[in-house]
Subunit: 567 residues, 2 copies
Amino acid sequence: MKQSMTFIPTLREVPADAEVKSHQLMLRAGFIRQNTSGVYSYLPLAQKVLKNIEQIVREEMNNAGASELLMPAMQQAELWQESGRWYSYGPELMRLKDRHNREFALGATHEEVITSLVRDEVKSYKRLPLSLYQIQTKFRDEKRPRFGVLRGREFIMKDAYSFHATQESLDEVYDKMFTAYQNIFTRCGLDFRAVIADSGAMGGKDTHEFMVLSDVGEDTIAYSDTSKYAANIEMAPVISTYEKRSEALKPLEKIETPNQKTIAEISTFLNVAKESCIKSILFKVDDRFVLTLVRGDHEVNDIKLKNLYGATVVELASAEETKETLNCVPGFVGPINVSNDVEVVADHAIAAVVNGVCGANEEHFHFQGVNIDRDAKISQYADLRFIQEGDKSPDGEGVIKFAKGIEVGHVFKLGTRYSEAMDATFLDENGRTQPMIMGCYGIGVSRTLAAIIEQYNDESGIVWPESVAPFQIHVIPVNVKNDAQKDLSDKLYAEFLQKGYDVLLDDRPERVGVKFADSDLIGLPVRVTVGKKAEDGIVEVKVRKTGESFEVSVTELYDKIKQLLGN
Amino acid sequence: MKQSMTFIPTLREVPADAEVKSHQLMLRAGFIRQNTSGVYSYLPLAQKVLKNIEQIVREEMNNAGASELLMPAMQQAELWQESGRWYSYGPELMRLKDRHNREFALGATHEEVITSLVRDEVKSYKRLPLSLYQIQTKFRDEKRPRFGVLRGREFIMKDAYSFHATQESLDEVYDKMFTAYQNIFTRCGLDFRAVIADSGAMGGKDTHEFMVLSDVGEDTIAYSDTSKYAANIEMAPVISTYEKRSEALKPLEKIETPNQKTIAEISTFLNVAKESCIKSILFKVDDRFVLTLVRGDHEVNDIKLKNLYGATVVELASAEETKETLNCVPGFVGPINVSNDVEVVADHAIAAVVNGVCGANEEHFHFQGVNIDRDAKISQYADLRFIQEGDKSPDGEGVIKFAKGIEVGHVFKLGTRYSEAMDATFLDENGRTQPMIMGCYGIGVSRTLAAIIEQYNDESGIVWPESVAPFQIHVIPVNVKNDAQKDLSDKLYAEFLQKGYDVLLDDRPERVGVKFADSDLIGLPVRVTVGKKAEDGIVEVKVRKTGESFEVSVTELYDKIKQLLGN
């Protein structure tokens, strides 16, 4: 493509409202422009990268046995009412009415449409399993769109759905999709982790999020420093074991601790380690009250608490509820002398606390010399806390580290959530009606574009990995008014194209400094500069990634390019 | 692709609500399913054809110097208010509000978005011309969606826009786009005409519609039986000349014609040819009244009348207005003895009428022996009538025939309609601010899919042209439980794929009759049937288009396929 004829509006200044690197660079390098909050136009360079990513996604999806289709963005409200999400999705679901006042959702996701489609056509186990995907524009009215296309309101997604007669069949396709996702993000050049995620209200068992490691990520990942293990921190079990200190047990003693509410305060006030303090927090777990105990240096993981009780809603008890249940204000509650109505669950670490400190269920008082099994009644011990950096990895290999991640993909065993609500059934081998078992698999295509830029940039601009680069080669004549330079550039451009390379020719009558700055900003893998030595058939090759540059004669150029880029 | 793993829900019956062939076949062959009125899902076979059409469109657009981008569907109301179309577009424009109660249009077309995008970045003639296109989903709330995806409410369009500093530059790009369109529709295998169209309220001069010839088309095309000339019938000038009959002039005579209002009635009543009758119709042209005269066998073309006067609105005068102006009810009006306030314009054919008949401006009376230049005062003669079949072609070659057409493309010189309204200006070579001159160029991609099927089908199903067929080859084992047949089919499938063909393998455990019927319905160019002679390495090849079939040994198969399909 000739640069004079396309649309790459680069900017010298960093736009004031762009907080993260990818957003800044996509604006500066002329990849996107904002139309309105969270809504963007993808300019020609971005569109080329999107197409490259889509092609990789298509190849891997087809390879995993999925077929591409295209479903509509306009979805009749009735479908969403069947699934119940018309009512539960909230303001993120964009809604509109047609000229006949009929209501529609703008597709935020397509479980309803695909379930209705398959339900109407597939009636027998013989037609299952079935995997279908699309690459399509999605609409979600984010409360706080930000970071450019990382969190937009209109974005491109690949969403796939699978339908099964048996759980085993779902498991098999889930594994294929998992592998496809690993291939996709690897081919995109991304440093990512497949992390164990929370299946949330869906009731599914297996679910993984594919996270691109990045400081601007909104999620925290706990990963092993030596193995492949990775999970959302909420999901990582703690397998650490704790040894009791060999110390003589002291008697239990109530002491005055005026206004010392937090662990930090009490540990300073009494000059004891946080590890010796017992953090006691009252939760409301569905309809009952549960007093949780974790060590002072640990945090309660409410998702673990929720899963422990198979509960729907877990929330902190209010001050009033705490007062009512424990006859004490928060800050001084503890497990000793509590009513039998209150269950007390303790993290495993608590069992190893010797001569500890806890609230006395009396304002401005704590107990010290606490030895939990002697002094309190524990309903059960459980893994109750958030994993921490330095903990053993749950798979037994290495220790846990934390990283921030951008979620670019999600694979999910939906089970019968939609098929039951929408009556998508089939006849099994025995002629019995069964709900289809479903999986769903999403990739944020436009978000992946931004995530790649987050990982591939330097102080001069973007540094595209070859697999998705908008063009492979940037041909730059230093002076387009010089015939030799112009002719040689045109010739190389034509020949590269003919050999199947994707080439950008900077034929603009700009100063060479401007061209080089734009070129670094855009970040194509290889630059071929045609300057004064054009008359001698010598050009300069520069590799964007390494900064390496060298002169080469035109006769040797293609071999060099082939070495650098493959063919 | 293996048929057992994809989603091709064929139907044996013709769906009751599908009126046209393409709609019926797309439903029956499992290409589409309706989600709600005018909104469809494109199932895997349709999606493959769409991708093939899109690829052709991309190649030709790139070749014409246009760059692909992607603009959003969600368009802030403010943009449409700037252009004025927020108010003028009517209920066809779908509108919605976001969570902050801000208004949006769902993109029906993208003139506003692209104009704002280019206006913000391009300031100098040096950056022009610029051609940009996208392939994207459009939304139009059609009053009467019908014919499947031929007239839907959510559809896929390629829309391109060009920006220019000079009219000459627009003319040049318009011609390139015109050529690209011809290439695109030719490569899609379509029998089409580029017809001269009405530029409507846009004020542009050149505009062409690309019409696929089809009886289900909603537009009538006038085309030459020998040349390339084609136009919307409203737009075709009449170049016919008329000779006066050599007959002695009779005197003007008023005669009683009780209740004989129409041309048909008066010609029967007086036993004169329609060609001798003068049809007189009063129009309101903006603010004035114009009495138009055409021959009894001709029809007034109000677009020609409108263009003749450069008018904005042309409509038939009401009965009241006619009474007021000519002192007569419609049905008996004529050009003789009318007030000087009324302009009388006559079609050229009227000058050649000898001893004709016309209304007497008196109820139940006509004149006969009318010789117009003797008896009436004609303000001007003009080309005022619709062209008819049998008329000379306006380019002088051949005679006119009529055909119905489906509009699949439109190229249009917009001029400064949007750039002036939205202040999209540039500095010209002399440093003067000028509005950009624009062109726009649309293709209905999903409509093209249906139009191809309208032209490519027979009583058994679709007959795909190779260029856009969802697959090139259909491999069908007669009995998948026979090892020899299954193994050979699998082998051929793998080898075809390896040779770069797109192949569908019908590996379903269905009866062969069902498979053949489905195969004919789906309509891939070449079928390879693997039957009883599989053990001898012999298969049957059938060409869908011609019905030709022959046996061939596997060793010669690839050469045969190469002959049939190319490689």
